[in-house]
């Protein structure tokens, strides 16, 4: 099987229970699924969500219709549904609890600043409602267009625009408190 087959061609094989095609799809997109899950639900749940999403790709492969959108859009939607669902569970752990253990190695100052900024953004993101977080992750992190992101979230383009506007405004407000104009965190 050639590695250059499109996602949609591989999905057609997955629908007839081809496990090799499934493996190729998972290898291609697992990191993407985990990244999105981590942005929306937090680090602790991300790997589980990635696996669960691909299990759904396998069990629901026959409901995928290439005429109605790309495989990645369908995958994003599965990941978002799972991530939002987990996030709403009462016993979830806040995103800050799952912070990575700081390395004891000495780091260049630039890396420390970048790390601090990343933490600031993560903290600001975790305070947003999950749908706003998803909007930012799809548009800014995954680089989807407004139309594609709206399709992945299953909402209208207008509704997506509104979500993104509110999310960016909230984040900007949070970041401006901690990251001054020179880009250094306070």
């Amino acid at each position: 099987m050639a590695g250059s087959e499109t996602d949609e061609a591989l999905m057609a094989l997955v629908a007839v229970r081809d496990q090799r095609a499934f493996r190729m799809l998972a290898e291609r997109h697992m990191a993407r699924a985990i990244r999105l899950a981590e942005r929306v639900a937090g680090n602790a749940e991300a790997d589980d969500i990635g696996q669960e999403a691909f299990l759904r790709v396998w069990t629901r492969s026959q409901s995928f219709d290439p005429a109605s959108g790309r495989f990645t859009t369908w995958l994003y939607r599965i990941v978002l549904n799972l991530a939002i669902d987990r996030r709403r569970r009462p016993a979830h752990r806040p995103i800050e609890d799952a912070g990575e253990v700081a390395s004891s190695d000495p780091e260049p100052v630039a890396l420390l600043i970048a790390d601090e900024e990343a933490r600031t953004v993560s903290a600001a993101m975790s305070a947003l409602p999950e749908r706003q977080r998803a909007a930012i992750a799809l548009f800014h992190m995954e680089g989807l267009s407004g139309r594609e992101a709206a399709a992945a979230m299953g909402i209208s383009e207008k509704a997506f625009e509104s979500l993104l506007t509110r999310a960016r405004a909230a984040l900007k407000q949070h970041v401006e408190k901690t990251v001054p104009a020179d880009g250094r965190c306070r």
Binding site: H140, L164, K172
Partner: protein, 138 residues
Amino acid sequence: MTLEQFRKLAGTWGGDLGRWPPAEQNAARALAATQQGMAILEDARRLDALMAAPPDVSPERARHAVHAVVLRVAAEAERGTRRRWDFPGWFVPAMSVACSALIGISLAMALPSGEAQEPMVLGMILDSGSMAADWSLQ
């Protein structure tokens, strides 16, 4: 397009004009060339960069997740195959009774009837050819 509209659009879509809705891009270009426009876009780009940074997912972490899900799918597929050969609880006893009945019927039809034929019948059943005809000879 007014500067306020421009600012609002940058607040939604960020500092890269190429990612704005196509219908707005042409009108926005003239404003983007002004000093105020440039400052608005620069400010938006700073926020874009912070939001675009993805969480770090190492190749090993992704590989581990792929391996785990592939195993789960293989197990699922095997369960599905086994399920195809699973018979309902009543099936085996019912088939045993049916097979016994079939053997009985075919034996009854194959064997000759009547008392006179008894030794021959026994011979057919016990394959008497393999036994000595007269035990006293041994």
